[in-house]
């Protein structure tokens, strides 16, 4: 029982990071119907931004977190304006290939500028709490607390602010949104900014959890977060949160029963399963394509 609880806690804290990254995938998909495969690398850039904020600029952890989010928000806007906006009316596969290209660019540019060697991310002083045979570390609490706080803020922004309403309007019907006087370009930029900032937060949280950052660290978590977004229902914000948590718990569970070699395969097994059983995702509705 204690073992089960322990793995559940590990899974939830890992899953909440997947959820943060998955939110960016799903929001961007919701508004421009693009799977931004460079999103995992934005998470990596965020982790490095946090690393330099702490190491070079001596910022405290939360200030570094905010700084990394700001850096990636700006990066997200620039990425959209330069790489995706010119392709908005192009066939979708063009934007998809651009995303893959961008991903390689981010990875190799980081290797070129910073080096391929992993860097030690300054960890916060470790504290462990024990009760009922379960160990919870302060960095797990930090991950979960920050992720939940960010998701609450996101929910508020999307549901109750003018910008959030504009985002939902653009994702439901772009032409009609324009007829409401909504500036679609700015709304899309804003969506990229939020999604990228959330990825950066995920990167910094994972950086301090594992104590290491490196240029290829975004590749696998990026793909897994994509799976989480699909699992929950791509384009659906609560779906990304649910998908991320399920994925995290599933991974921790598989390691717990002794198959930790297959840890990374779990996510993709889930992807195959969901595409066979319910391609629209857990919260998705099956929409028939209208002709």
């Amino acid at each position: 029982m204690a073992e089960f609880l322990q793995q559940l806690i590990n899974g939830i804290s890992l899953g909440s990071v997947y959820a943060l990254v998955a939110l960016g995938y799903t929001m961007v998909y919701g508004i421009v119907r693009l799977i931004n495969f460079a999103h995992g690398d934005v998470y990596m850039v965020g982790a490095f931004a946090g690393y330099f904020a702490i190491k070079t600029f001596k910022l405290p952890f939360f200030a570094a977190l905010v700084a990394a989010m700001a850096v990636c928000a700006i990066l997200g806007v620039i990425m959209e304006r330069i790489a995706y906006k010119p392709l908005r009316n192009a066939p979708r596969v063009a934007a998809l290939m651009t995303a893959v290209g961008l991903s390689m660019f981010y990875q190799n540019f980081t290797i070129y500028r910073i080096g391929a060697q992993p860097k030690a991310f300054p960890k916060i002083a470790q504290v462990n709490w024990q009760f009922a045979g379960v160990t919870v570390s302060n960095s797990q609490v930090l991950i979960l607390g920050t992720a939940i706080a960010l998701m609450i803020i996101l929910h508020f922004v999307v549901q109750h602010t003018k910008m959030g309403k504009a985002m939902r309007a653009v994702s439901q019907d772009r032409d009609a949104a324009m007829l409401m006087g909504i500036n679609v370009d700015n709304t899309i930029s804003f969506t990229f900014a939020i999604g990228s900032a959330l990825a950066a937060a995920g990167g910094v949280l994972v950086g301090q959890y594992y104590g290491v950052v490196q240029p290829l660290m975004g590749a696998l978590p990026g793909l897994k977060a994509f799976v989480a977004a699909v699992l929950g229902g791509i384009g659906i914000i609560p779906g990304a949160m649910i998908g991320g948590l399920i994925l995290g718990v599933a991974e921790a569970g598989v390691s717990a029963v002794g198959f930790s070699t297959y840890r990374d395969a779990v996510a993709f097994g889930i992807l195959i399963l969901i595409l066979i059983v319910k391609p629209a995702g857990i919260l998705g509705k099956n929409v028939r394509e209208k002709v």
């Binding site: 003018k162 309403k165 504009a166 939902r168 309007a169 439901q172 019907d173 032409d175 009609a176 949104a177 324009m178 007829l179 409401m180 006087g181 909504i182 500036n183 679609v184």
Partner: protein
């Protein structure tokens, strides 16, 4: 108020609008009638800035608007109820109406106009929390009109407001259009239901495959033999 001059619009290689000129005077209801595919919707989309013309001018209150982005055209006072209603299906009735007032900042005025919309369409007030996608077709049309009114438009563009509605709703929608006009909103109405459109309009233009083939006083057109033959199901087979 609105002047369209020698407008040409292309869809890819298709010449959809072939040198059209038309005028909407302040305070009037002007209708644009014609068969499916005549280019009615394209004209409205071009006025709203969703499509761009290749040549010609569109001026609103003596300002050239064709070079402006759609959201700025809307902010100048041109609001559109698009074909197929295009409400935001996953948002509530209230949120849809709020989005209609997206560019406004006068809270008191917005509140007033919301009450005005509910006066006109009490059904919307009953369903204020409901998701717009679950409304019936007629209710969605009311919502689309209410949403457009929330911007307090000077010129209201209506694209086939009667499409797919039960006759009772069609009656109600047309009397609302008339009422709005009497309250001071200028209206450009696109319709396939020529009979209804001509009965409430002041001026009318008849569109055929991208060209205006007839125009003039709506009452006169309604009684002209060409119109009754082609559009009012008149004396076919004579």
């Amino acid at each position: 108020m609105l002047k369209v001059k020698d407008l040409n619009v292309y869809y890819g290689g298709i010449h959809a609008i072939k040198g059209i000129s038309l005028e909407v005077e302040e305070g009037q209801i002007v209708t644009l009638i014609g068969a499916n595919g005549a280019g009615k919707t394209t004209i409205l989309r071009t006025i709203s800035g969703l499509n761009k013309g290749k040549s010609g001018t569109i001026t609103f209150k003596n300002t050239e608007i064709q070079t402006m982005p759609a959201q700025e055209i809307m902010a100048m006072g041109i609001s559109q109820v698009p074909e197929g209603r295009r409400i935001f299906p996953a948002m509530s009735v209230l949120e849809n109406l709020q989005l209609g007032a997206y560019r406004r900042k006068d809270r008191a005025g917005i509140k007033n106009d919301m009450e005005r919309v509910f006066d006109k369409f009490p059904r919307l007030l009953e369903r204020i929390k409901q998701q717009a996608g679950t409304l019936s077709g007629g209710e969605q049309q009311m919502l689309a009109m209410g949403r457009a009114l929330m911007s307090r438009p000077k010129l209201l563009l209506l694209d086939e407001p009667s499409m797919g509605l039960a006759p009772l709703f069609v009656q109600a929608i047309f009397s609302t259009i008339k009422e709005l006009n009497q309250e001071g909103t200028t209206i450009l109405l696109v319709e396939q239901n020529a009979h209804m459109a001509l009965s409430i309009a002041h001026q009318a233009y008849v569109l055929e495959t991208g060209r205006i083939v007839l125009s003039g006083d709506a009452k006169e057109l309604a009684s002209s033999p060409e119109i009754s033959e082609a559009y009012l199901g008149g004396t076919i087979g004579h």
